[in-house]
């Protein structure tokens, strides 16, 4: 077997263990950060080196090594890199257990990489649990009242979502006799249309799978956990959760629904319709409830629900036109990359500011334009990108997804999405207004340290590059749209 195709994952596992062991021996804990970062750089570097036209699968066709998986592996390594940079000041406050913090981030990244690559329901479930359990602990890392409550809520609701997902997998297995995605597709294609229609188990299984994955991507009505968990978790973990966990959820949805349930068209139209409906309610509920929020982390939480809605517009487009699925997938990949940079940027600015003023209230951001001009400028750029205005990446991302949807006769859905973007401008711009025109509570400057600044710089650079010259990344996303076929 080609174990060299498994190097990114092995690297992360080895470095996670290395960080814990090193924690026992070194006094200067900043080494731990350096080791974790270098593990991510190596994993990312190997991933880039593996990029190519060939796609194959290892471990008895359970793990695909294709451009789709490699794109996501690089994305996750990049996100974890930025999150670790951004958590520098935060982690320095911990007296102990810094090694565990970094190790858990590396392990959850490993789980997400496996999620993006897995082509079998069983390894998919175990990878998803690896990711989730690491995240439950990271959310409760502070061990104060809010953090513990957030962790408990996340754990309980996450366990129910896992159970629902497992039920769905059992029903799909029961009606096809297979756990491997390609084999499931073959089994479904060998059934006649009538027997698919006559088998409520398969359809119910698909619905339950959507519910289970919907929890991961925080789509309405599976979004209940989002505001409390986002508010209570340590802010770097919130940033990580809002970006990486969502991207992993979409990776797995794309892989499962495209590989296993893409044909016959009747079936894909049906799940496309479900995603269209979820997109509508996610956009509306996310945006409307975001408006009255006074805590910036909660506001960004609801905003991330709305962003999942825009992404599901892309999923609906794939369901309605499986023939051009590669194009649909590349628009979703581009959106995810741009959303990751934008949202991380916004959260890093929030981390840097909140760390100094010890408040997450939007009202306390008044006058930040004078107190911390660089941070305020970066946050403004990211918020503009979240609205979807040029020259930021969010504009191109929405443009690609909406134009694919329009080409596939989903004009009604795009109209709703555009209306929602307009609503969202209200609450994003309110923060911008408070920062630049509000009266500062004090004239004191808000200083920031080097590592988060570097992370913020990288994010803003990415947001601008994707917004001004999107062709480069779009080309990459198009290449990554090709999945391993069985």
């Amino acid at each position: 077997m080609n174990l060299e195709l498994f190097i990114p994952e092995i690297t992360l596992a080895v470095f996670a263990i290395l960080v814990i062991l090193l924690d026992l021996f070194v006094r200067d804990k900043s080494w731990l950060r350096l080791v974790s970062l270098s593990g991510l750089v190596i994993a990312g570097g190997v991933t880039v080196a593996m990029w190519g036209d060939d796609s194959t699968a290892i471990f008895n066709n359970m793990l695909a090594v294709d451009n789709f998986a490699l794109f996501f592996k690089l994305l996750f390594a990049g996100i974890a890199f930025l999150v670790i940079l951004a958590s520098t000041d935060y982690v320095a406050k911990f007296a102990r257990f810094q090694g565990e913090y970094y190790a858990l981030i590396l392990l959850s990244t490993l789980g997400m990489m496996l999620m993006a690559a897995t082509t079998d329901l069983i390894s998919l479930f175990v990878a998803l649990e690896l990711t989730s359990i690491s995240l439950y602990v990271l959310v409760g890392f502070l061990k104060d009242r809010k953090s513990t409550e957030a962790s408990l809520k996340y754990l309980l609701l996450g366990a129910i979502a896992s159970a629902v997902l497992l039920y769905g997998m059992a029903l799909v297995f029961g009606s096809t006799g297979q756990t491997q995605l390609g084999a499931i597709a073959q089994a479904i294609q060998s059934m006649s249309l009538e027997s698919v229609l006559d088998s409520p188990a398969l359809l119910m299984g698909i619905v339950l799978l959507i519910a289970g994955f919907g929890f991961k991507i925080a789509a309405v009505p599976f979004q209940m956990w989002v505001p409390d968990v986002y508010e209570g978790a340590p802010t770097p973990v919130t940033a990580y959760l809002s970006v990486a966990s969502k991207a992993a959820g979409f990776a797995i949805i794309l892989r499962v629904f495209f590989s296993a349930f893409g044909i016959p068209e009747w079936l894909s139209m049906n799940w496309g319709m479900i995603f269209a409906a979820l997109a509508v309610i996610s956009m509306i509920i996310g945006n409307v409830i975001a408006i009255p929020q006074t805590n910036i982390k909660r506001m960004l939480g609801y905003s991330s629900i709305a962003q999942a809605g825009y992404l599901m517009v892309g999923l609906a487009a794939i369901g309605f036109a499986p023939a051009i699925a590669t194009q649909g997938q590349s628009t979703i990949l581009f959106f995810l990359a741009s959303y990751a940079l934008t949202n991380l940027g916004a959260f890093i600015a929030v981390i840097a500011i909140s760390n100094k003023i010890n408040s997450d209230d939007i009202a306390d951001y008044a006058g930040m334009g004078k107190r911390a001009p660089v941070m305020a400028l970066a946050l403004t750029l990211c918020l503009i990108s979240l609205i979807g205005m040029p020259p930021a990446a969010g504009f191109m991302a929405k443009f690609y997804i909406f134009s694919t949807a329009v080409q596939n006769d989903l004009l009604w859905l795009v109209v709703i999405a555009v209306l929602n973007s307009v609503i969202s401008a209200y609450y994003y711009l309110r923060v911008v207004k408070v920062m630049w025109y509000g009266q500062p509570a004090s004239g004191e400057k808000v200083p920031s340290s080097g590592a988060p600044r570097l992370a913020l710089f990288l994010c803003c650079l990415g947001v601008l590059v994707l917004g001004i010259i999107p062709g480069l990344v779009m080309r990459l996303a198009e290449l990554a749209g090709k999945m391993f076929a069985f």
Partner: protein, 162 residues
Amino acid sequence: MGLAAAFWIMAVVAVIAALGVVFLRNVFRAALALVLCFITVAGLYITLSADFLAAVQILVYVGAISVLIILAIMMTREVQQGSPANRMKIPAFIVAAVLLGIMIYTVTQTPWQIAPESPLSPTTVPLATKLFSESGFILPVEIAATLILAAILGAIVIAREK
């Protein structure tokens, strides 16, 4: 015939025990009902020729998890008060009933395909070969090992002194 009778008796007892877990107010009694549910499910596995699964069910669920739950109850104060009443009782009941209805419909209306071969006996050796061979499920086994590492780290972090 005897096997079918055993299956149905244990199935009914399992459902009654599960209902007991939900309806019994005293947490300790609910835990004992859960143990009964675990044992009868192990019995169901035996009637379905899944001998290894039945043994694991007894060892892990009846042995380890039940003890864990009962220990946790012992460490909890004010067990005697029982689980508190819930405002969401009626909505929860409606949702559960609808879900139950859909599930019963799904299971009874689907023309399930039944494998023509008779089940393996004993299952332990073929299962082990399938789990640990290169052409089997070695990847999920390895991921599960990493999962346990993450869980242990998590336990250390959560159990620390503040």
